[in-house]
Amino acid sequence: MNHWLIAPLVLPLVAAMLILLLVGRRGVQRAVSIGATAGLLPIAILLMCFAGDGEFGVYRLGNWPAPFGIVLVLDRLTALMLLLTAVLALLVVLHAVNGDDRRGRDFHVLFQLQLLGINGAFLTGDLFNLFVFFEILLIASYGLALHGAGAERTRAGLHYVVLNLIGSSLFLIGVGILYAVTGTLNMADLAVKVAAAPPESAALLRASALLLLAVFGLKAALLPLHLWLPALYGHATAPVAALFAIMTKVGVYAILRTYTLIFPADGAAPDVGHWLLPLALLTLAVGAVGVLGSQRLRVLIAYLVVVSVGTLLAGIGLFNTGGISAALYYLPHTTLVSAGLFLLADLIARQRGIHGDNFVLGPPLAQPTRLGVLFFLGAVAAAGLPPLSGFIGKLLLLQAVTPAQAAWLWTIVLTGSLASLIALSRAGSRIFWKTEGDRAVAGQAPLPLFAPAALLLAMSVVMTLFAAPVTRYTEATAAQLLAPQHYIAAVLGVHP
């Protein structure tokens, strides 16, 4: 039995509780938090080595057989998401220990529990357990969103909390319907039972599938449920906003998992297969309009996140190997780059004094060249221009469509890129070039504050250089997702 499978959950949970016990010893708290987060990285790499062969890791909690007990399932997708979370979290926590973590109480406890929730959502093979981990990650995110206080932040946070409470209720209703029809909660077992459900239950199953899409769409910021995101991300503390870059991807992950495993597009509840692509493209378009209309850098980046969600779900909405593979290449790219941009925006805002990240005439930056080069890199990556990873991801996506879909998808994806290009060049010009006065008003950022943002953005370069192996992995992942019978067999222990 491979106990490493549960390590990404036990480690942050224990770390969080230890930090809670170490009240008042802030240095030690930080050390534990960094240590635990850094520990996730080798674990994630180990798990990826295991899953990379196409093996499934099934961890039966309490040693109860599936579908009766809860299982954790490791496949290529899960391993990819765990690794991404580990990389992101480490760099974010390294940024946070420069002082942002002390702008409110118990940052590190909430941070670790947030990681627990995210990792759990990726690992679990049980739909109700997914709900539990959603609750964990949400309730931790409520705390993190409000970290640092402030009126705007609290308002945006309140909206987020209320909407997600409604979302959680809908989740329960959706799961409830599924349980009523199939009598099970294990996702592999659900896949079997949904496929075998009598036709008179079809409408209920479809309602459940659509309700779950609304729930996951809310997390992922799918139109028209994306409206909470710009204000929340635009006002959150920098490391929180950066960490939240993965939160929308949890929604994307849940959509990918649910609608390839439980409700495949050719199954009893095909609606999502029809609806996802148009909704994703609309999200992309609305996000692009938001990018163009932004008047603050962080809000602009938040809308770039909306655009990326549209791009990702467009790839997934194709429900073919090429589309899913493209989305899975794009997913780590956009997560790391958005997070890097959020941290960078914070560095920029600190050097602009009262002008913050608003696109107004401000003083020159203390480190215009360093920050400028990083911004340029991030902007090129985010807009999807060659030669960085954003371009490769979009190229893979554009090539995955059928000729009939191409007209819409190409137009919207490419126009979205153009809108990002125009908005980002304006933003960069306003912040770095159109300055007033000769002297910077703030001091330079020390290396420890600067490095995490730089490393996050450098990941785009790394993903470009290693595009071929990454794409091989994502293609294998997409193929694995589109052949769910192996997953089912591994979990239920029977061979089809």
Partner: protein, 932 residues
């Protein structure tokens, strides 16, 4: 390998000049020059091979999934561009060393220039469409940074953004076009595509593909109507204008036309699109060039016009026209680069570029003037200069065109007209600047010759103009032959590079152009006045920025209209989505909503419970503004739910619900303390009507679904739990065994949720200062008796009893209703009661526990119980139990699940106490500040 090095050297070498600048400006310039020379050196071998008739090719696979491979190919056309890019690049590097001022950061300049150079070499050497696009966009990006080099200037910033937006948009369109082309041919490899011309032209996607590809080419080469970015790119330092915006980057568009010529040309669409746009650009820009007062503006429009000419030549589509197009690429690059450099010298020495001020420079800088005049004469197409030769070929080609039928006179006439304007603006460049009286109010006076080495690049280029013009056969012929051969991808047509072809029609056209141009120039003052009257201030730039501003404003307004910050709207959208999600499948299904299972008969008690619950829910909603009433009514709902659990034999759930209910109501009451007792009506009736509809929709939808679920047959895996609870989990209470064993992991998660909630709320309440109401809404002060004696005395008696009950509930939990969760709630309620009855100070003197560690300990105990099974190499949370016998106590059971339950118990107690005690503390803190 050499081919790759040619590109990589400048791309990677771009990092060096900014580093070398600490050793001085010359070091930086020398580094850049050395890198360029090295690239040229590496290019020599392959170039020689190409001239020997053997194109060079290398390829590596990189990302086959995206069809992205590294395919490099050096053929005649690429060789021509490599020579142009590296040769003129070298001259520009030398020139810029003297052009840039002390305060300009030279390292950045050379770095960006090398970056551009590498990208442009990449475009030239690409044998793969997507790879070409990558380099293509890189040239746009580096051009953006070079135009904005003097970024403190508004025109530089705006010019750069405009160039990036236009060429970037074109590049994205081209990407789509390339992907279509790749789809048509089945390969992105250019050498394959070039041989698939017939397949491409016959394909139904030919037209959209061609349009998209041409969009890329036309934006890059500043063809009408996308031309307007180029004059504003002149805000760049002049070396950049000379290099990017005349000799190389803007040639990328016509390069692409030449590159894909065998594959795409030869259709009517190609002829009319490429030829038409080329002709329009040629005429429009030639006309406009004459009316520019800015020296660089004149050269910019002239560049656009010449690019139009080259485009037109490729559009005509005959082999000879293509040869002429290639020839003109060479000639234009040489004379225009030298003209820009001369203009830069004049700007540098006089401090202005306004031709209305700069006059009579002949006197001050005769050497520069001579060079500039020769180059300008080449631009005008004067015999014995290179511009004359390619222009003759162009004129000749316009005459041999039959495609226009009866209108075949149009093209030669237009060509001659464009020639007239070209002569006129060239004449203006020469006469206005170097003669025409004395200079007027120059910012720098008197001007003098520039540093010796600044003129060397101009001299070399002008010498080339002369050499090619006088001795074409022994200078340019081999280069033209290999380049044109590569463009045509087939045999070369017969052409002669002689400078004298006899007294034929093209020569007459040239003469007409020369004479007409000079005549036109002499009448320029009238023309300027006419131009100002007829076209007053039609400014594409203003239109562009108006559009961009409109775009941003509209986007902002749209976003604000959608994302208006109203939680009500967001929530309504979410609920509407849910209604749609529920309704859609039922509306699109023929199956009835109700299933086959008949409803059970209704008994009076159940009905009564249901009615009470509904009534209470209605009361809560209707009286929600009277908050105390609403909370009480809400608690009735909760209590009836508890009773419902009892009615359907779920004592565990009933107990849990009951205690949760108590804790929740206490929490709500504590929060209500800070809120006004009555809320005002904020919503309009319409709004409330909408909300009512929405609420009915959601409630109805969920009711419908419940009905559908309950009337369908139900099979479940739950029997497994009932059967295995005792033998496998060691507990008779199935609910508890599910909670702590079968699905103990969920429970671990849920207590974590509770812990996070408590920590989060505590963090939120930390340092919170709230206004404490001194009176109620009616103005009555709060009771002065804060802790009623009867309550406090009673609760003290109750405490040990309640604790005893909770221990009892805890211990029996595994086998009978109870368990850690319920026990924890009971304990917490008992403790909270002490706080409420006797006050926080009193309680805390006797009860000095910190709740954070209790929570942490609870979760850790639960987690450690789970991890304990690792010792026996069992999965996390595997339970074990055994029966033990103790004297007096008798037989009892011990299970690891109970340890887990202890964790649950501690967490629940800690969480409830942390939240409630701190909310309570808040009231006390406010009260203390209120002075009571």
């Amino acid at each position: 390998m050499n081919l790759l090095l040619i590109i990589l050297l400048p791309l990677l070498g771009a990092l060096l000049p900014p580093l070398a600048i600490r050793y001085g400006r010359s070091a930086s310039a020398w580094t850049a020059a050395a890198i360029t020379l090295a690239a040229l050196l590496f290019a020599l071998g392959p170039l020689v091979a190409v001239f020997g008739g053997a194109p060079q090719e290398v390829h590596w696979t990189w990302l086959p999934q995206a069809g992205l491979d590294i395919h490099l190919r050096l053929d005649g056309l690429a060789a021509l561009f490599v020579l142009l890019i590296l040769g003129i690049g070298l001259l520009v590097i030398l020139y810029a060393r003297y052009y840039l001022a002390e305060r300009d950061p030279m390292g950045r300049f050379y770095g960006l220039l090398l970056l551009f150079m590498g990208a442009m070499l990449g475009v030239a050497l690409s044998n793969h469409l997507l790879q070409l696009l990558v380099f293509w966009e890189l040239t746009s990006l580096s051009s953006f940074l070079l135009i904005s080099y003097w970024h403190h200037r508004s025109d530089a910033r705006r010019g750069a953004r405009m160039a990036l937006a236009i060429t970037g948009a074109g590049g994205l369109a081209m990407l789509a076009g390339f992907m279509l082309l790749g789809h048509i041919v089945g390969s992105y490899q250019i050498s394959v595509i070039l041989n698939a011309g017939d397949l491409i032209r016959a394909h139904p996607l030919y037209a959209p593909m061609l349009l998209l590809v041409l969009l890329g080419a036309f934006t890059k080469s500043a063809q009408f109507p996308f031309h307007f970015w180029l004059p504003h790119a002149m805000a760049a330092p002049t070396p950049v204008s000379a290099y990017l915006h005349s000799a190389t980057m803007v040639k990328a568009g016509v390069f692409l036309l030449a590159r894909l010529y065998p594959a795409l040309s030869g259709t009517e669409l190609w002829f009319f699109l490429v030829g038409g746009v080329g002709l329009a650009t040629l005429l429009f820009a030639a006309y406009n060039a004459l009316f520019q007062h800015d020296l660089k503006g004149l050269l910019a429009y002239s560049t656009i016009s010449h690019l139009g000419l080259i485009t037109l030549l490729f559009g005509i589509g005959t082999p000879l026209a293509a040869v002429a197009g290639v020839f003109h690429i060479i000639n234009h690059a040489t004379f225009k680069a030298s003209l820009f450099m001369a203009a830069g010298i004049i700007d540098h020495e006089t401090g202005t570029r306004d031709m209305r001020l700069i006059n009579g420079m002949w006197k001050y800088m005769p050497h520069t003037a001579t060079l500039a005049m020769v180059a300008a004469a080449a631009m005008a197409g004067v015999p014995l200069l290179n511009g004359f030769l390619s222009k003759e070929m162009f004129f000749a080609e316009t005459l041999h065109l039959s495609a226009l039928g009866a209108f075949s006179w149009v093209l030669p006439a237009a060509a001659t007209l464009a020639g007239i304007f070209a002569v006129a603006y060239s004449a203006r460049f020469i006469h206005d600047v170097f003669f025409n009286g004395e200079p007027i109010d120059l910012p720098k006076f008197p001007p003098h010759e520039p540093p010796r080495h600044m003129k060397v690049p101009v001299e070399i280029l002008v010498a080339l103009c002369l050499l090619v013009g006088i001795l074409p056969a022994i200078t340019v012929a081999p280069l033209l032959a290999v380049a044109a051969g590569a463009v045509l991808n087939g045999p070369l047509p017969d052409y002669s590079l002689a400078i004298w072809h006899g007294f034929n029609t093209p020569f007459i056209m040239s003469l007409v152009a020369l004479a007409g141009g000079i005549a036109l120039y002499t009448q320029r003052h009238k023309l300027f006045a006419l131009h100002d009257r007829v076209f007053p201030g039609v400014d594409a730039r203003a239109l562009f920025w108006e559009f961009i501003t409109w775009l941003m404003d509209t986007a902002h307004a749209m976003t604000r209209a959608l994302e208006n910050g109203s939680l009500q709207r967001y929530a309504a959208l979410l609920l509407l989505t849910a209604v749609a999600a529920i309704a859609w499948p039922f509306l699109n299904s023929t199956a009835p909503i109700a299933g086959p299972v008949p409803a059970a008969p209704i008994d009076a008690l159940t009905l009564l419970g249901a009615l009470v619950m509904m009534a209470a829910a209605v009361v809560t909603t209707v009286w929600q503004r009277q908050r105390l009433t609403a909370v009480i009514a809400l608690s009735v709902v909760g209590l009836v739910v508890s009773l419902t659990f009892v009615r359907w034999s779920a004592p565990d759930l009933a107990l849990t619900q009951l205690s949760v209910e108590v804790v929740t109501i206490v929490l709500l009451l504590l929060a209500l303390y800070f809120l006004p007792q009555r809320a005002t009506v904020d919503s309009s009736n319409l709004r409330r009507g909408q909300d009512l509809l929405l609420a009915t929709g959601v409630g109805g939808g969920v009711g419908l679904i419940t009905w559908a679920m309950l009337t369908r047959p139900y099979t479940t895996i739950a029997n497994y739990f009932v059967e295995n609870s005792l033998p496998g989990g060691g507990g008779a209470n199935v609910v508890n065994v599910i909670l702590v064993d079968f699905r103990g992991f969920d429970t671990l998660g849920e207590i974590t949720v509770l812990a996070i909630a408590a920590i989060g709320i505590f963090a939120l309440l930390d340092n919170l200062r709230l206004e404490m109401p001194a009176t109620d809404d009616g103005g009555r002060p709060w009771s002065s008796e804060r802790y009623p004696l009867v309550l406090s005395q009673l609760t003290r008696f109750l405490l040990p009893l309640a604790l005893l009950v909770s221990v009892y509930l805890f211990l029996r939990g595994h086998n009978a209703p109870g368990g850690g969760f319920i026990a924890g709630l009971v304990t917490a309620v008992a403790l909270i009661l002490q706080y409420m009855a006797s006050g926080i100070d009193w309680t805390q003197q006797r009860w000095r526990l910190q709740y954070h560690p209790i929570i942490a300990a609870g979760v850790l105990i639960a987690a450690a119980t789970g991890a304990g099974s690792w010792l026996y190499d069992r999965p996390f949370l595997t339970s074990a139990f055994g029966h033990f016998h103790l004297p007096l106590a008798g037989e009892f059971e011990l299970a690891t699940a109970m340890l887990f339950d202890l964790g649950v118990y501690l967490t629940v107690v800690g969480v409830v106490m942390l939240i409630l005690a701190n909310l309570g503390k808040l009231t006390q803190r406010s009260a203390g500040e209120g002075g009571t």
